[in-house]
Amino acid sequence: MAQMTYLEAIRDGLLGEMRRDPGVFVIGEDVGVYGGAFGVTKGFLEEFGPWRVIDAPLAETANVGAGIGAAVMGMRPIVEMQFADFVTDAFTQVVNMAAKFHWRTGHPLPLVIRMPYGGDVKGGPFHSQCMEAWFVHTPGLRVVAPAFAEDAKGLLVAAIRDPNPVMYFEHKHLYRYQREEVPEGEHVTPIGRARIVREGATLSVISYGWMLHKCLQAADAVAADGIVAEVLDLRSLAPLDRDAILGSVRKTGKALIVHEATRTGGVGAEVAALVAEEAFESLDGPVVRLASEDAPVPHSPVLEAAFQPSMDEIAGAIHRLAAY
């Protein structure tokens, strides 16, 4: 075990896989000489050379498309979006070319797209978006979104080894904010498994990414009032860990779902729908969602604080649901 930031853990996972498997390579804008806009691949060019650390033109369709082509040939490409927001420039490649590839051909497509996403980085509407729901609604893609450094490493390794296209959502705010003990060397977090981060019986708080940490703080804050919140970190969004979600809600009888993506049509809707259909008989209260406002992500920190669910709002929602 070693203390690592979330960003260092990503880097550690990437480095290990690059060393293990000569088919693994990274491609993206400014990933080589510069080492990536956030420094994730710093030093990689020197170690692996320009054909495994490819400084690409400013062309997301080309870069994702090239990743797909290389994957068809048995390579294990990792395409870095400089910011997740720019994946819209490669949308056809992701949702039509990559996602449907195995189903159409029976041929695996081992591709990872690294998606630095999320807000609280003073990034504004085009450098802060959380668009994971688009991909969760696209059969053929796997979608993961770690909240902890340990899983940032473990899920990246799993994604690289997975024979399917994986959208790997790494939260920019967590890059340096989140720091913990991370297993050194080989470490895999299986895709599709949620984790109970905090056990409890009063209600289930279901979240992922940066908001998961706010949920943990809120759970601590309400503990003084005798509320024992269970906090579930989804980690994988496609596939969702149905058993973990339903298991927790069947136990507690109440579900609060929190995410940073905008509310309408977010992943929280799917989780809520799942609970309302499959755990209905266990429900002792409404299935509550807390998410960002249905608006673009604002640049001003003042506005962003109002936009995003706050720890206080989460604690408030826990209180209300617990009292229901």
Binding site: F25, W51, R52, I54, A56, P57, A59, E60, T61, A62, N63, V64, G65, A66, G67, I68, G69, A70, A71, V72, M73, G74, M75, P77, T92, Q93, N96, M97, K100, H102, W103, R104, T105, G106, H107, P108, L109, P110, P139, G140, R142, D162, P163, N164
Partner: protein
Amino acid sequence: MAVPETQEGGLVGAIQAASAKGETLAPSDLLEILYHMRLQRAVEDRGVKLYYQGRIPGAYFTGWGHEAIAVGATYALGPQDLLAPMHRDLAAYIMRGIPVRRIFAQFLDREGGLTRGRDGNIHMGSPSLGVLPFISHMAASVPVAAGMALACRQRDEARVVLTFFGDGATSTGAWHEGVNFAAVLRLPLVLVLENNQYAYSTPVSRQTVAQSFVDKAPGYGIPGVAVDGNDVLAVFAAAREAVTRARRGDGPTLIECRTMRVRGHSEADKTFYVPQELLQEWAARDPIALFERRLREEGDLSSEVDRAMLERIAREVEEGLAWAEASPEPAPESVSEGVYAEEREESGRGEAGEDPSWPR
């Protein structure tokens, strides 16, 4: 990178220069080329009949009149090379190892089709045979083909990727990004434009006001050459040069093959928007007839060989279709199988000779 001499001479000069080089082909090559052109025509002809009999679900597309491009370009590839075709290149699929029977099964949406009935007649391929299955989104294959070429470069394999696209496709961002990516990284990619003067009902004048598509090449720093797309040897010669250049490490070449879409966009299209004279002019330049005449004139196609070839093709078409008809409809519940690959599935390396992917 300099633009090759063929461009300066304009279209006619280019055609002559390219055709001249075709002469090194052996007589057996010429017959094989004719065979593939005829086979495409025969398979598609049978497809048209099936379509009018209502036996092909959905839209049906042919490459009628484009056979010289499909065959001429693909014939320039070596055994380990790779292909990213489009919807007018049926012969290319066959030449790269996809059996006729599986194509008919694809037409009929059967389990034996290359996509097990999952995708339509033109959306097929076999990654494990090195044939990228294309998707509807025009030119989406171009960056993927660049990526296949990238993998060859990364592994130091002396393989080349050849991709086809239409005049309409050149207007897309995907085309631009893919071509430029390959140019910048000097990847072994051959870019074959099938300029058939229309994209559905839209004439080329709405896709570009450049004097010629070849004028796009210098903007990417790559050579460009225009050839008569109805002259199979001209296409072959240009493609062979481009393949050689790519394999040598000198990057992509743009080959504009000029032809005309002499049938509808799909079989449902009556092409009222195409001037009759244009259709007639090009119908008189049918690439198969042109090549047959040339072979006969030069004594390379005896009437026995001719007859035997036609019989072989007829037999292959009927056998292929019979196999396809015997192939079952896909099982309804199979629809949600294989949305994801399973843990243990390994990618191939796109080596020719492997089996098509479905069924595994």
